[in-house]
């Protein structure tokens, strides 16, 4: 592997995003760190979109840089999800930062872009080191973002919890990785995967341990029970757009990498049977815990955190059932749906909570009277999160059901269905607030800024479109050979 022989063009999107992020950073630096800087936000969105276009246009055939960096449909799809997600988060943030001028705005945007970069790197990596770097770029950016309202006690506390627990989780991941490296002498996932069948025969305990250590660490990152404890607090304390970022982008990127590792390194038949059951149990516990605790929540952000935990449980199901193109299709489809419905919901949540200055669920009271469009859109997002028809969430969820049933894990599908019904209660609690409660006396009609409106409209359109015509996406997905190793 000689550096100069490598096809670096595969990394064009990452490189350009890094450059653009630095550019944004520099511009911010040159324009003074204080004050509102909507133009930087716009620039950031533009950069992300440009990168997204690059992802789409470049390297349709895929390829790899050694065994370090993979460009395959899986990576490209998740990169798109990440970039669009971050772009939408930034559009939400622009409103948020407009309301919170004390936050250093330029830094915020550039760090957000770096986080996106880390996530992109992560989903493309096929090597433990690259992966770790990507993960840490994402994580460290996230720590910073969580504590971005540095004069705000909740925000800093959230950041603290996040950084300490996140650091510990990283240590767990690394500890697990160190064994993998030691046993194979390689950090390449592909090579590890090739060695795995033999290795597993020789050192089942060590392989199992490294797997489980990594599971703990990654389980933490994607907040599945019992590694989820940090999530509600951090989500609640972070600035709302950051919460959106953590719930969606960070989690989906985490999922992508979990799938990547477990597919490449632990994907062979013999070992899949060993851990699929554990994953299934964890998925079940995650769905139950997330949904049940969410029932009792009154804080919107905390509620969404538990809802996100539950959603992570749903996403874990196909992964636990089977690995391959089918489950990837299902996961990616649900990820897209999840991205859109959650970000749409967070856009509305940001708007409402910032307007009312509180994050209690009653801040949604009478939203329908104050802004019908937002209320209707929010309803669609919630209904989609709950998994009711004519929305992307429904199709995504039902696909997961079917996959679970077809993969002989009907019990998991049953738990998922039942907990989904439980989730109706709190999702419809929002709806009740919006439609069936009078607005509080001082609440006036809500002004919806353009950025938020765009986010909401785009999400709404995608959620509904995928709910009615999921074949638009699925037809494309079905042609994909998601990862080379699936053959």
């Amino acid at each position: 592997m000689i550096v100069l022989e490598t096809d670096w063009s595969l990394m064009t999107p990452e490189i350009s995003l890094a450059a653009l992020a630095l550019l944004v950073f520099t511009i911010d630096f040159m324009t003074g760190i204080h004050g509102k800087k909507p133009f930087i936000g716009r620039l950031a969105v533009l950069s992300l979109l440009v990168t997204a276009v690059l992802v789409i246009l470049l390297n349709p055939g895929g390829g790899s840089i050694g065994d370090l960096f993979l460009v395959d449909p899986f990576a490209r799809l998740f990169k798109l999800i990440i970039l669009i997600g971050v772009a939408m988060v930034i559009m939400i943030s622009m409103y948020y930062l407009d309301r919170n001028p004390e936050v250093y705005q330029g830094e915020y945007y550039s760090i957000m872009m770096f986080a996106a970069l880390g996530a992109m790197l992560m989903v493309s990596s096929a090597d433990l080191i690259t992966l770790f770097i990507g993960l840490e770029i994402l994580s460290i950016s996230s720590y910073v973002l969580a504590g971005f309202k540095k004069h705000h006690r909740h925000s800093t506390e959230a950041a603290l919890k996040y950084v300490i627990l996140g650091g510990t989780a990283s240590a767990f991941i690394l500890y697990g990785m160190s064994f993998l490296y030691g046993l194979t002498g390689s950090t390449s996932l592909v090579e590890i995967g090739q060695a795995m069948p033999v290795l597993f025969q020789q050192y089942p305990a060590l392989v199992g341990m490294s797997f489980l250590f990594m599971l703990v660490g990654f389980g933490f990152k994607i907040s599945i029970v019992p590694f989820h404890m940090w999530a509600p607090d951090v989500y609640q304390g972070s600035p709302t757009p950051v919460t959106a970022f953590l719930t969606v982008v960070s989690k989906l990127a985490g999922f992508a990498i979990v799938i990547r590792i477990f597919t490449l390194a632990f994907g062979f038949e013999g070992i899949h049977g060993e851990w699929s059951f554990i994953l299934a149990v964890m998925a079940a516990i995650t769905m139950i815990t997330g949904n049940f605790i969410a029932l009792t929540q009154n804080n919107v952000k905390r509620l969404m955190a538990y809802s996100g935990i539950a959603q992570a449980g749903y996403l874990l199901v196909p992964f636990a059932v089977v690995l391959g193109d089918f489950s990837s299709t299902v996961i990616v489809f649900y990820s897209v749906a999840y991205l859109m419905m959650t970000l749409g919901a967070f856009a509305v949540i940001t708007l409402v909570t910032e307007d009312s200055g509180m994050t209690d669920i009653s801040s949604f009271a009478g939203l329908y009277y104050r802004s019908p469009y937002m209320a209707i859109a929010m309803t669609v997002f919630l209904v989609s999160l709950g998994g009711l028809p004519l929305t992307a969430g429904f199709i995504g969820k039902v696909n997961i059901f079917i996959l679970a049933a077809a993969g002989d894990m009907l019990w998991l599908a049953i738990i998922m269905i039942l907990t989904s019904v439980v989730s109706f209660y709190y999702y419809f609690g929002f709806i009740k607030q919006m439609f069936m409660t009078e607005p509080r006396p001082n609440d006036k009609e809500l002004f919806v800024p353009g950025g938020l409106l765009t986010v909401v409209t785009v999400s709404l359109a995608v959620v509904l479109l995928l709910g009615i015509a999921p074949n638009l996406l699925l037809d494309i997905f079905n042609q994909y050979n998601w990862m080379p190793s699936f053959n």
């Binding site: 460290i140 910073v144 690394l174 607090d233």
Partner: protein, 102 residues
């Protein structure tokens, strides 16, 4: 030739001590230091494997370098957050920071 098991055991012990520190110490700086300890356990593992592992090669040491670097970055961010927190709350006692709960 020293057996690799010894290094692994040392790393394991270090990791556990670090974990214990993270979970029990009330001083946040010590908690941070404990995390460093855990990461260093990883480093020992990597270096040991790199030197005398079954498939000894240089990659492990490269990995170690990356881990050290990232650990430094993480520590920097963590300390920054700690300072921000201290400014807000005048305390770096772990137990004091429970505004966000339930």
């Amino acid at each position: 030739m020293v057996s690799i098991t010894l290094f692994l055991a040392l790393a394991a012990i270090l990791f556990c001590i670090g974990l214990y520190g993270v979970l029990t110490r009330r001083h946040l700086v010590i908690v941070l230091a404990s995390i460093e300890l855990m990461l260093n356990a990883v480093n020992i593992n990597l270096v040991a494997f790199s030197a005398i592992g079954p498939f000894a090669n240089i990659t492990g040491q490269v990995f170690t370098l990356f881990v050290i670097t990232v650990a430094a970055a993480e520590a920097a961010v963590a300390l920054a957050i700690l300072i921000a927190l201290y400014r807000n709350r005048n305390s770096i006692d772990v137990l004091k920071h429970d505004l966000l709960r339930w």
